[in-house]
Symmetry: C2
Subunit: 254 residues, 2 copies
């Protein structure tokens, strides 16, 4: 397969490197990734500044294109300008899980969503840890997952958000297909003073309040590799029907 790799941790990230090393043994792999970390940028795109493209080499070898923009920019620019049509986009391996509400803030997932918008199948991959990460296992899992991908009952266009627990492989309980949790994050804003006595805030999230085992948040915590298929239609169809009926019977005067 012709695979485009991107991420939101930047082109030099270990997770991307591990994916490249493993997948390039069997596939034609291209890298177009942000020049530096762009996490929590959600589905941001760059329209008010020009985008710069830099060719990155590792020793003698061409490694990939570093982009001055966001993960979504990388996918667009790769497909429209730098690489052309591809068979699959893989975004990751992200350092830190992308489950629950965080899916909306995630640059990793947004890159995969952008691929689907453009008509290409995509996978976002994240590992649930920030230290001592076994990227090698994650990359091999994805490699063997790709061999089964043609059997998936999803046709040619899909977007999968995959999260991997950072456990020894024998401790992983299996694969679980789950919905995105909608439960609240416990968030904090910590107020601090700078060296000039002026206030600033750090934003952080503490933990999820989710308890349903059929959600990404809980299944991951319980030791499963989670798979959540992603869509990009934000319409709330249940509210849509109610509102249609309501406005149908209402007279509007301007």
């Amino acid at each position: 397969m012709k695979i485009l790799l991107t991420n939101d941790d930047g082109i030099y990230a270990d997770g991307l490197c591990a994916l490249y090393k493993t997948l390039s043994l069997e596939h034609e792999v291209y890298i177009v990734a942000p020049e530096a970390e762009r996490s929590a940028v959600g589905h941001a795109i760059t329209i008010h500044y020009p985008l710069r493209v830099r060719e990155i080499r590792k020793g003698k070898f061409f490694w990939g294109y570093a982009i001055s923009g966001t993960p979504a920019d990388c996918v667009k620019l790769a497909i429209y300008e730098l690489i052309g049509p591809i068979d699959l986009v893989i975004s990751g391996i992200n350092r830190g899980a992308n489950v629950g509400i965080n899916v909306l803030y995630s640059g990793t997932v947004s890159a995969a969503t952008e691929a689907k918008i453009l008509g290409y199948p995509a996978i976002a991959i994240s590992v649930d840890a920030y230290e001592n990460i076994d990227y090698c296992f994650c990359a091999h899992f994805i490699s063997s997952f790709l061999n089964k991908i043609s059997n998936l009952p999803l046709g040619n266009l899909f977007c999968l958000n995959i999260n991997i627990p950072n456990l020894n492989p024998y401790q992983i309980k299996g694969i679980k297909v789950v919905r995105q949790s909608k439960a609240k994050l416990k968030e904090i804003f910590e107020k601090r003073l700078d060296l000039h006595g002026k206030i600033y805030y750090w934003q952080g999230a503490e933990e999820y309040t989710e308890t349903d085992p059929e959600t990404d948040v809980v299944a991951l915590k319980n030791g499963y590799i989670t798979i959540t298929p992603i869509q990009f239609d934000l319409t709330n169809y249940s509210d849509l029907e109610k509102l249609k009926e309501f406005f149908h019977s209402m007279v509007i005067n301007f």
Copy 2:
């Protein structure tokens, strides 16, 4: 009502000013908005830099809080730190429509979505023009819409994406409740050379390929005020069921 206003065009934007002037006649209105334009930032949040808050005055009067972050940051910071619980969040009035795929890139809509995530009802408002905008009509429309809001069959928690055509009020055909279009945008990347002969790209979108009159894109173009209820669950439930069945019958070896 206790209303929080925000936007992605920045705290000095005309659309926000028009909303404030009209809504503050009947409601308790607070402003927490980005210190400068933050359009196309999607659902980005600021976690790698501290957030700064600046009190803005217009002459003698306190106008609102300018935030160094994104629209989603503004809503969080307003509710967790600066204002506390409110009855409604209104994001806008945005200069330029937010329909179709652009809903995913929109800071305006993401601020409203963030409010819903936090448990507060919200409305995003955009007007389909970049010049000669009648913000006054838009603000009055919203003001009268708010008087009907308690009749909406949606309970206490909703998120509505409203787009207003920039027409004379008598030319507007009515209100239409429509789904978000998923059709492709015709996008361009224009390659240019800087003064040092180095390449850069401008990203832009030309037009929508949508034709279905029951979508936000086409209804707005046809002269309707469009209303699309928004959700933040990105799970593709149709694919979820197919995958559950598939993985249920598959043996995984790690």
